[in-house]
Amino acid sequence: MKALIKKELGHYLNNPFGYIVIILFAVFANFMFMKDVFVVGQVSMRQFFALLPWIAMIFVPAITMRALTEERRTNTMEILHTIPLTAAQIVMGKFIALVIVAMIALILTLGLPVSLNVLGAGSGSSLYLPEVLIAYVGVVLFFAMAISVSLFLSGGTNNQVVAFLLGALALFFLNVIGTDMINSLVPRAVEDVLTLLSPANQLDSFIKGVLDIRSIFYFISTTAIMLFLTIMDIEKRS
């Protein structure tokens, strides 16, 4: 599986497309936060982390859209099926490589907490670093879940554009459930369920610097279920 992870990383990092997507993510994420920093006037990263699920809606499908569709389109899936790799290893190898790519993109946002601390130094404010670290942990878990959802949906098509659109739609849906707008339209019982299922709400505890075991369980179990379904789908298709 290590060999497959290295190969997958090579596809993204030895390719202009990979660099463009990562840099666009970093530029957009940094800009969307920094444009309001002086207006808000607070030394806080919470707005930034709350913004990331919406940016992930485009970034994650962009990096996952080729992972399985390209293998099917070029028939290289046939090669993967005939070398000593199980379907689970194929999926996990691609998943881990994608999470690494997402983490590289997130690393490019680490300048923000540094900048905020420098900007806030003048007024005696500073970031509470453990809160920022826990928030990043939550974001990584969110991205991993988003990647697993997008990867599963891309398995049903040979077309990268369709894979991208399916992933974006699914992540949009996941971002929207549990928002106040949707909650106001549904009965109370449904509202409670949607709040529980909403990744953005689960991420909220991390953003506030709380390592909530229920949220960790939510992200890990959702990711595991989606990866399991992807593995089953690949085995069924062969």
């Binding site: 290590k2 060999a3 190969k7 390719n15 070029t74 000593p84 199980t86 062969s238």
Partner: protein, 233 residues
């Protein structure tokens, strides 16, 4: 070694392979012949575990290639039809990847064997068809598999490249079980020890290679036509 017992493969209502039974033993070089759409590639995909039969059983050394995928994948080197490769990888990167998965052998030795030593730093997308075929063959040879399944290994190559690949297969045939499909009947005359002809998914001939120049072509045409007439009546 390779055993197919009453293997049928359906795609929807269409039978691509119909009640096929074949036994292939050590030391054999099988020329697998058939017109386009006869079921050769489907059969090869079932042998390698890419496809599951709808009916019947496939076994490699007594085990199902899908249920025991890892064990059988180590025994089989497969060159698929149209030779799918990763165009953005260099030859060395691709062979290194396959070698790391198969965990056996040296990709540099194999590259030298197939004549790729000078192309290791070249991106696959810039290679000619002949060299790409050599990359596919090198990948199939990595891990020193005992069985080689080669689906049209000389398809689309110029005559000189065809001769090179044929010479390589002839050399490999001394130590491996080889099943290769081809439309070039002279290849079968040169390399195979046994011929299997399938038509419309059914086996119409299975026996030793006939002797004499042009004998394979005559046999092929006779058997295929016989089967067509039988189907029509």
């Amino acid at each position: 070694m390779i055993n197919l017992i009453n293997v049928t493969k359906k795609f929807g209502e269409k039978k691509a392979v119909d009640s096929l039974s074949i036994e292939i033993k050590t030391g054999e070089v099988i020329g697998f012949l058939g017109v386009n759409g006869a079921g050769k590639t489907t059969t090869m995909r079932m042998i390698t575990g890419v496809l599951k039969p709808s009916l019947g059983t496939v076994s490699i050394d007594g085990v199902d290639p899908i249920d025991h995928h890892i064990a059988t994948a180590k025994k089989i080197g497969y060159l698929p039809e149209n030779n799918p490769l990763y165009p953005d990888m260099k030859v060395s990167e691709y062979l290194h990847f396959i070698r790391e998965v198969k965990k056996h052998g040296s990709y540099l030795e194999i590259a030298e064997k197939v004549g790729l030593s000078d192309m290791l730093d070249t991106k696959i997308e810039t290679l000619s068809r002949g060299y790409r075929q050599r990359v596919g063959l090198a990948a199939a040879l990595l891990g020193d598999p005992h069985i080689l399944i080669l689906d049209e290994p000389t398809s689309g190559l110029d005559p000189i490249e065809q001769d090179r690949i044929r010479a390589l297969i002839t050399e490999l045939a001394k130590e491996k079980v080889i099943v290769f499909s081809t439309h070039i009947l002279s290849e079968v005359e040169d390399i195979a020890t046994r011929i299997i002809i399938i038509n419309r998914g059914k086996k119409v001939f299975d026996g030793p290679k006939p002797k004499g120049k042009g004998a394979v072509e005559k046999l092929f045409k006779t058997k295929v036509l016989e089967n067509e007439i039988k189907k029509d009546s």
